[in-house]
């Protein structure tokens, strides 16, 4: 998952931080921070669900969890989170570029 996020965001904005101003490099740091926060959030959600499943022993509840958590649950959640961060970074970088262009 970490490699996935790194591949998505690192390749897209890495060159911006390298070739443009320090202010835009700061925006790249924002992307890295978001990446770290998202991975930590994913791990926390996963740990919570795992701990819940280990505590619950009643088969009725386990069957209920089985029903409401489809197999593509984490795949869809990952896609939504990735899209959210990608859109945020895109708009953030766009705003930063506009601001730098106006200042120069």
């Amino acid at each position: 998952m970490g490699a996935f996020f790194t591949a998505v965001f690192g390749s897209l904005f890495g060159f911006i931080a390298q070739y443009i101003t320090k202010k835009i490099a700061y925006a790249g740091a924002v992307g890295a921070s978001l990446l770290a926060i998202t991975v930590a959030f994913y791990a926390a959600i996963t740990a919570l669900i795992n701990n819940l499943l280990f505590v619950v022993t009643d088969q009725w509840i386990l069957n209920g969890i089985f029903s409401v958590l489809p197999a593509n649950f984490m795949t869809c959640m990952t896609a939504i989170w990735s899209a959210e961060i990608l859109a945020f970074l895109y708009r953030h970088q766009l705003f930063t570029i506009k601001a730098v262009s106006s200042a120069n």
């Binding site: 998952m1 791990a43 996963t46 740990a47 669900i49 795992n50 701990n51 499943l53 280990f54 088969q59 009725w60 386990l62 069957n63 969890i65 089985f66 029903s67 409401v68 958590l69 489809p70 197999a71 593509n72 649950f73 984490m74 869809c76 896609a79 939504i80 899209a83 959210e84 859109a87 945020f88 708009r91 953030h92 766009l94 705003f95 930063t96 506009k98």
Partner: protein
């Protein structure tokens, strides 16, 4: 105004009636509307099956042949309406169809009795309450008078007159005399003509016998089949004869097709149609050894020709199948008489075996095959050596073991891992869907602590995983759609405002 009304009507229909109609058509199968009382199926039940209620259990004899050795002691002829004919195939007590449960006793009630006094007949009806004891203790009760009132109506230009001399004559039997008055309005002073004596007598309903002495009489259950209708027409097996038990269900609704037994019970037969409307019939013939032979006839169509498939099942005296056979012939079944007419036997066509191609052992020695083999052989050797080298060096110059050795090491490594352990390395595989949240049947157990089942315990398993899996698949589909829509809306959002 009219347009507005039509618009609202269409809107109401589209929003409410259309979904309701759609759901209704999805839930209720179309054949529920069908009414075909002549449809029936024949089911084989072992000795312990099919003796209670109207449930259809066992294998359908029209759907396939039974296996030799299978339990088959009772034949159930069942209709979609739930009516059954139950025919034992042996004399074993276990195969005797159980009678329905009836109340062990009841109080005597006034029963209708026809009288024949005077110039006509009248009928006494059951009086209100139906209990004879209060009437016996009260000679002038209105209940007695009501019997007379209901017994005769105005006729022949005379009006009704109730004789006030109606009295209880003896025991639980009483009468009153009905007169027809000459004047339209009636009156006790007019000249009256006695037209009949109307009797009411206490008695018991069908299936019960009155016991005791008045006024402490009760009705005791004498025949549960007569007392309680259960939609099951039962038959009795005695030696090598079948006979219908005295059961009003046999002549009840008429929706069941009871077996018509020949004189002496040497055979019983029935005829009807399948759910698709094709004629079918059956014949049960008790055998001298205590068993039976069951023949089923199903009419069908093969390549445009009307045929009859005959299946013969032989049941031994131990209620097990000792022989089965089936054949198909041209013919038909008369749905009125049950007569089966058969002609030429149709031999089932079996597909011819695929032709065997025998290649010569030296076919690759010359020609194109030899050229191809000569080209492929060294390449296969190269591939084999690549996969199974003794050792080789990777790009960094490090010597690594052969790939087969490395693969052999993987199972050993995997077996040392503990499944579903929330460690740093395994938290992702143990998420979803894992063995922990896999749907399993839910065990249900318990012990009855009261009633007739007191002390009986048992366990069962409730398996609804198939249904839950469908819900899970539906949620997964909805989640996928939601994800796509969400991402689409996210990227279509306006960029104004930047971050």
């Amino acid at each position: 105004m009219t347009k507005l009304f039509r618009y609202k009507t269409r809107r109401i229909f589209a929003r409410f009636m259309l979904p309701i109609l759609t759901v209704w058509l999805c839930i209720v199968p179309s054949r529920s509307y069908a009414f075909a009382p002549a449809i029936y199926g024949i089911y084989a039940a072992s000795s312990a099956m099919g003796l209670g209620g109207g449930a259809v259990v066992g294998a359908d004899l029209f759907a396939g042949m039974l296996a030799i050795g299978a339990g088959f002691g009772l034949l159930l002829v069942s209709t979609p309406a739930g009516d059954q004919a139950r025919l034992p195939l042996t004399s074993a007590p276990a195969n005797v169809p159980a009678a329905p449960t009836g109340a062990p006793s009841s109080l005597p009630a006034l029963q209708p009795i026809w009288s024949s006094g005077g110039s006509t007949q009248a009928q006494a009806n059951t009086c209100t309450g139906g209990v004879i004891a209060p009437i016996y203790s009260d000679a002038s009760s209105s209940c007695r008078a009501s019997v007379c009132l209901m017994g005769q109506t105005s006729q022949l230009g005379f009006s009704k007159y109730v004789d006030s001399s109606a009295v209880l004559v003896s025991g639980l039997t009483y009468y009153c005399t009905g007169h027809l008055d000459e004047t339209p309005v009636g009156g006790s002073s007019s000249t009256a003509v006695t037209v009949g004596n109307i009797y009411g007598s206490s008695g018991c309903p069908s299936g019960y016998t009155i016991t005791g002495t008045a006024p402490n009489q009760t009705c005791a259950l004498s025949s549960a089949r007569l007392a309680t209708p259960d939609k099951a027409c039962d038959y009795a097996r005695s030696g090598s004869a079948l006979a219908m038990i005295s059961d009003p269900d046999c002549a009840g609704s008429g929706t069941v097709i009871p077996a018509i037994c020949a004189s002496g019970g040497v055979s019983c037969s029935g005829v009807g149609t399948s759910p698709t409307g094709e004629p079918r019939s059956y014949i049960i013939t008790p055998t001298a050894n205590g068993g039976s032979t069951v023949q089923t006839f199903q009419q069908g169509t093969v390549s445009g020709t009307t045929v009859v498939t005959t299946t013969t099942t032989t049941v031994g005296p131990d209620s097990t199948v000792t022989g089965v056979s089936s054949s198909t012939s041209t013919g038909s079944i008369n749905t009125s008489t049950g007569t089966v007419t058969t002609g030429t036997t149709i031999t089932p066509t079996t597909p011819s075996p695929a032709p065997v191609i025998n290649f010569p052992t030296d076919y690759a020695r010359t020609g194109e095959a030899a050229t191809a083999a000569a080209t492929l052989a060294p390449k296969l050797d190269t591939l084999h050596n690549d996969l199974n080298p003794t050792s080789f060096n990777d790009t960094s110059g490090t010597t690594v073991p052969p790939i087969i050795v490395a693969l052999d090491g993987r199972p050993n490594q995997l077996t040392t891992l503990t499944a579903n352990t929330p460690t740093v390395n395994l938290w992702m595989p143990s998420l979803l869907p894992g063995a922990v949240v896999a749907c399993k049947p839910i065990p249900i157990g318990g012990t009855f602590t009261s009633g007739v089942l007191n002390g009986i315990s048992g366990t069962a398993s409730l398996d609804i995983c198939d249904q839950l899996d469908q819900v899970r698949q539906l949620l997964g589909w909805l989640l996928s759609v939601f994800t796509v829509v969400h991402i689409f809306r996210l990227f279509m959002r306006s960029n104004s405002g930047g971050a």
